[in-house]
Assembly symmetry: C2
Amino acid sequence: MAERLNATAGALLGLLRAGPRSGYDLVAEADTVIGGFWTITRSQVYRELTDLAQRGLIERGETGPRDRQPFQITPPGRAAFRDWVNTTPEPENLRIPLLLRLTFAEEIEPDELRQTLANHRAIHALRLKDYRKLDLELTAGGVPPEQRVTLAYGIAYESAVLEWFDHLPEPLTGNRLL
Amino acid sequence: MAERLNATAGALLGLLRAGPRSGYDLVAEADTVIGGFWTITRSQVYRELTDLAQRGLIERGETGPRDRQPFQITPPGRAAFRDWVNTTPEPENLRIPLLLRLTFAEEIEPDELRQTLANHRAIHALRLKDYRKLDLELTAGGVPPEQRVTLAYGIAYESAVLEWFDHLPEPLTGNRLL
DNA sequence: TCTTGACAGACCACTTTAGACGGTCCATTG
DNA sequence: CAATGGACCGTCTAAAGTGGTCTGTCAAGA
């Protein structure tokens, strides 16, 4: 039995099932498809691709224009993907620097704090808007709910966070709207 | 000007303001105080402590029983902490392996999927319960809302996630309650 | 023709993480 | 009282992840 796949490798195989792609393609696709809950860097992708190819789970295709190197999944790759996707998911991992700062809010300059909160709120509001828009588009395009669950998660999450922003106690917001 | 503090180092200084602690203590405390939105590993803590001590931001105390090495924050350490807490927070970083699997849900065995969803739902339900309980206790103990904002975030987040679990489309849940 | 900018990958120098490992002390219990 | 299980405390390392720079390619427009 070969080494277990890590989650990033598993995700790459998952994307490759739909057809050959280059590392560049994969970075872009991962960013839009799983970017909301999984981060992937360029270096990471190229390293995993090399590794997966060495293990025979993917195959390098013919080099295209601009050194483009497409990879396609092999039958062992599909099997390895199926194995991975059926393993129980690791616990989630959140890192929210804003909350880390807020833990020590007494030491933050009030103006700085208000500004930071307003900025972050705006980011979440924008994300929620984008998610909702995408969800509408997909729904209109006939994409069924079970293919929009991760999007639903994003919408639920961002909505909750906005709610939270809008109910922060006055001492933090300085009695002003964010 | 010395190197900027990373978020973990900042958090450690923040905790150390309340009095001397060992690395072991800090791991435990971080886990309960900021564990919901910031992960800290043992290795990370000991490495940062060594580094902070070298920079003079903390001081090593006398070794206690079982090689226990307490550290205490120095005046420069307090200054560095104040600087750090007033820098603008980095963007948040979520990694949710469950959603990564769910992206490829068609390939997951229905039974496996149901089981996984049920397990994860239970984890979130328990967390929500614990958060709510803690919130009630703190409120009863006279802790003001502005010192419960991170907890409020946790409650908002976990509530939203549970909502999401409870509205998953039937094809995923197999038409059964989780 | 020249220039700009998206495309595509390689490379490097980190930092961070998970978990194995190795000791130490304490309380129980046989 | 000896032994033994478990909590305590820290070190170490392989693997994973990050962020950035560098090099080159091609297409479109000035």
